[in-house]
């Protein structure tokens, strides 16, 4: 009797490859139907192109089927329970198309005396915002600001985000929530761009990177964020992208930097922090290793884009120097 039961258990415990295929297929099919709406949203947030088109084309009918079968209900309920209700529609894209007129050329930023003097009791409130490039350098700035004693930086970055894809992460909307605080940040350190050299949707349709339409739309979005952040009197320190290992990628980043630089000159209260020269060798080329006070030091991560801790420290020090131009910081 005992042997029979053991044999039965063994039969239950092990089975053939067909059963493995059946079980996993069932699990994945059900999991896909239950998560269909979220997967469709993820597909829609992919970089514009064939991969996105394919993913959306696959997920749209699955999401419809999930809805018809009411299998989307548990996920919706769960999201509500977790306080993760569906993202509101992206904030309307700023009026693009026309190149913003040089309203006025930025004069010299207000002298330190025009701004309040931060103290240990009421330190300068700095917000570091941006994509994954802001992660390491932002952490360095948080530390350096703390060492300064009269400044307090908070880091608020989102992987894979930027200004081209508000459907993935809507930065203007998120920045608005920071500005609505009772004591909003007085200085914003902004580090966007690493993910931005891609197609984006505009009211006129999809603008491909490299086209004049893309330049106009992106420039308008940069200008809109600068205007949004400085409207209440905050200062903005817009960090340009550094050189990268890939020549093609570096060229794209240099193009974005030019947009940031020129827009910064058009917006009072915005300083452009040029990171490019911080990460080139004596010949002006990309180099993973650079001289520091501690000798040759690795400045970049293995992908040739992101910064190492030492790289983050170098950039944060430059940002702090830029902050010192406006604020009385030791």
């Amino acid at each position: 009797m005992h042997q029979k039961r053991a044999a039965k258990h063994r039969r239950h415990r092990t089975s053939g490859r067909g059963q493995a295929l059946l079980t996993v297929s069932l699990g994945l099919a059900l999991g896909t139907l239950l998560n269909a709406q979220a997967m469709l949203a993820t597909a829609e947030s992919l970089e514009l192109g064939r991969e996105r088109d394919l993913a959306v084309a696959v997920m749209e009918p699955v999401a419809d089927l999930s809805h018809v079968l009411r299998l989307d209900v548990p996920r919706r309920e769960l999201d509500e329970l977790l306080g993760r209700e569906a993202e509101p529609a992206p904030s309307p894209a700023p009026a693009p198309v026309t190149t913003p007129e040089p309203v006025r050329t930025a004069g010299p930023s207000p002298s330190p005396s025009a701004l309040r003097v931060p103290t240990g009791r009421d330190p300068l409130r700095i917000a570091v915002v941006g994509d994954s490039m802001a992660q390491v350098s932002g952490q360095s700035l948080v530390r350096l600001a703390d060492e300064v004693g009269v400044a307090r930086a908070e880091l608020d970055f989102r992987f894979s985000s930027g200004l081209t894809r508000p459907d993935f992460f809507d930065w203007p909307r998120h920045l608005a929530t920071l500005l609505e605080r009772s004591r909003p940040p007085e200085a914003f350190v902004v580090f966007f761009g690493a993910n931005d050299a891609q197609g984006m949707e505009t009211p006129e349709g999809v603008a491909r990177y490299g086209s004049p339409a893309w330049d106009r739309a992106y420039r308008a979005r940069v200008a809109a964020v600068m205007a949004q952040l400085t409207a209440g009197g905050a200062r903005v320190y817009w960090v340009g992208q550094p050189v990268a290992r890939s020549r093609d990628y570096s060229e794209r980043m240099a193009h974005l930097d030019e947009i940031y630089r020129t827009e910064a000159t058009r917006h009072p209260g915005v300083r452009y922090v040029d990171s490019w020269p911080l990460f080139v060798d004596e010949d002006g080329h990309y180099s993973a290793y650079l001289e520091t006070g501690d000798g040759l030091t690795l400045m970049r991560q293995a992908d040739g884009i992101h910064l190492s801790r030492a790289g983050g420290d170098r950039l944060a020090a430059a940002v702090l120097d830029a902050l010192r131009l406006d604020w009385r910081l030791p």
Binding site: H9, H12, R13, T14, S15, G16, R17, G18, Q19, A20, L21, L22, T23, V24, S25, L26, G27, L28, A29, L30, G31, T32, L33, L34, N35, A38, M39, T42, P74, R75, L78, D79, L82, R84, Q135, V136, Q139, S140, V142, R143, D146, E147, L155, F159, S160, R245, S287, A288, Y289, D294, G295, L296, T297, L298, A302, G304, S308, R309
Partner: protein
């Protein structure tokens, strides 16, 4: 390719379909698995497949040479494997360290600093290849066909971060045309558990706690730093054991059982016990291919009890990464192991057996956990200076309010308590799941995917051990 992604789900499904269709054709089944390995590994960079192919062909040829009596090929083969690892992993570390040392002596040196990109999983590949050559030399494993060596080295569940398998345990499991029994319940259970550990728990700890704490330790108070260190201990366990669950679960669905890699490591009562429970396939590799051969070289007490443990753990630290932080991590564990060994020998010589009481086990666990945490501080810090800032900061800021997520303490407690529970405490749920049929198991997997996707963050960070 990362495990917790839709791309991997599609690959796994395609492999299971092909595995079922080719179940009576073992050669075609192997070719299919080789292709799956190439797709999985090449997903990161197609050039990686070339490295894997060269390694498979070279090690296959050397193994055949060894089997034909050319035994001197063994040191040559081991050296060649290590040279490849050294080039990719340690070139920059070596050159900058030498340049810094010479600069300190007043000798300016500007060595060529090539930026060598570290191929994913190279450390695991190297250790597997060396174990193949040694096993052939020791006649534990006969030299295999090139196809089998390729399938083993490129086996997609293990190619990026282990578990480090031996040819003698994996190659005999490749199908021979007979019907293969697949523990489907156990495989899908491991998949769900691995996803929960990685996608939900590890991701949350990484973004909410450990990244901020280790990124800027100077701005956190002592209690926050301490919780951050405990959180890192939980994170690295959840991340790496989650990866291992996914690897073992995927392999089981193909009828291949991979060795265990973790067995409640934070329940260890000594550092020696910890290494019997943590990254077990690395521990046994170090024991069999480094510790034992080195210990045999001399009968001197200091050599066996002090020098060898310290040396092996220094090398183990360096294996994890080319940085002084990893060397220091190895040193902490090496010194702890040597200390425990000396203490054991001293007790034995004095005729005092080791006390094994509830209290002594509790103290042992507490001390071991904190020694391990000291190691994690060094392991996770980007420089010795950063580690020092964190360790020094542990003593400051006590008495101020804590700025940590409210969920952190219960989560840490749950992770630690789960390690202390005996296996049988949760065995009934696993057994009940395994006994249910494919319909129920599939439904459970589907519901698990719903919960994991809802609870997990947007996007998945790579596994921590992908760096090594």
């Amino acid at each position: 390719m990362l495990f917790p992604t839709p791309a991997y789900a599609v690959l796994l499904l395609a492999v299971l379909l092909a595995s079922w269709l080719l179940s009576s054709r073992p050669r075609a089944w192997r070719v299919m698995l080789l292709l799956a390995g190439a797709v999985f590994y090449g997903w990161f960079s197609p050039r990686l497949v070339l490295l894997l192919a060269v390694s498979a062909v070279a090690n296959w040829a050397v193994a055949h040479g060894i089997a034909r009596g050319h035994r001197r090929l063994l040191p040559l083969g081991v050296a060649a494997n290590l040279a490849v690892l050294a080039w990719f992993k340690y070139y920059g570390f070596f050159v900058t360290s030498v340049a810094d040392a010479l600069t300190g002596l007043g000798i300016g040196l500007h060595p060529p600093l090539l930026e060598v990109v570290l191929p994913l999983g190279i450390s695991f590949l190297t250790f597997q290849a060396i174990s193949y050559l040694v096993e052939v030399r020791r006649e534990i494993t006969p030299p295999s066909s090139l196809l089998d060596v390729g399938v083993w080295l490129s086996f997609f569940p293990t190619v990026t971060a282990g578990p480090i398998t031996r040819p003698s345990e994996l190659l005999p499991q490749l199908p021979d045309g007979t019907r293969v029994r697949v523990p489907v319940g156990e495989g899908t259970w491991l998949l769900a558990r691995g996803l929960a550990k990685k996608v939900v728990l590890a991701s949350w700890l990484l973004t909410e706690v450990t990244d901020p704490v280790f990124g800027a330790p100077a701005v956190h108070s002592g209690p926050e730093l301490l919780l951050g260190v405990y959180a890192y201990a939980a994170l690295i366990y959840l991340d790496f054991s989650g990866y291992t669950d996914l690897a073992r679960g995927s392999a089981l669905l193909l009828g291949i059982r991979l060795p265990e890699n973790f067995r409640a490591p934070y329940a260890a009562t000594s550092v020696h016990d910890f290494w019997d429970r943590w990254h077990m396939t690395l521990s046994r590799w170090l024991r069999d291919f480094l510790f034992t051969p080195l210990a045999k070289r001399s009968r001197a007490h200091w050599w066996r009890s002090v020098a060898v443990p310290v040396l092996v753990m220094l090398l183990a630290g360096l294996w994890h990464g080319a940085a002084w932080t990893f060397v220091a991590f190895g040193a902490v564990h090496g010194v702890a192991l040597a200390w425990e060994r000396l203490r054991r020998e001293h007790r034995r010589a004095a005729g005092r057996p080791r006390r094994d009481t509830v209290a002594s086990r509790a103290v042992g666990r507490l001390v071991t956990f904190h020694v391990v945490c000291l190691g994690w501080v060094l392991f996770a810090s980007e420089s010795l200076q950063q580690a020092w800032v964190l360790l020094r900061g542990l003593g400051s800021g006590w008495g101020v309010s804590l700025d940590v997520p409210a969920l952190l303490a219960p989560l840490l407690l749950a992770v630690l308590v789960a390690q202390l529970l005996p296996e049988r405490a949760t065995a009934w749920s696993r057994a009940a799941y395994r006994r249910s049929g494919p319909l129920l198991q599939g439904a459970a997997l589907g519901v698990a995917l719903l919960l994991l996707d809802a609870l997990g963050p947007e996007g998945v960070a790579p596994f921590l051990y992908y760096r090594f």
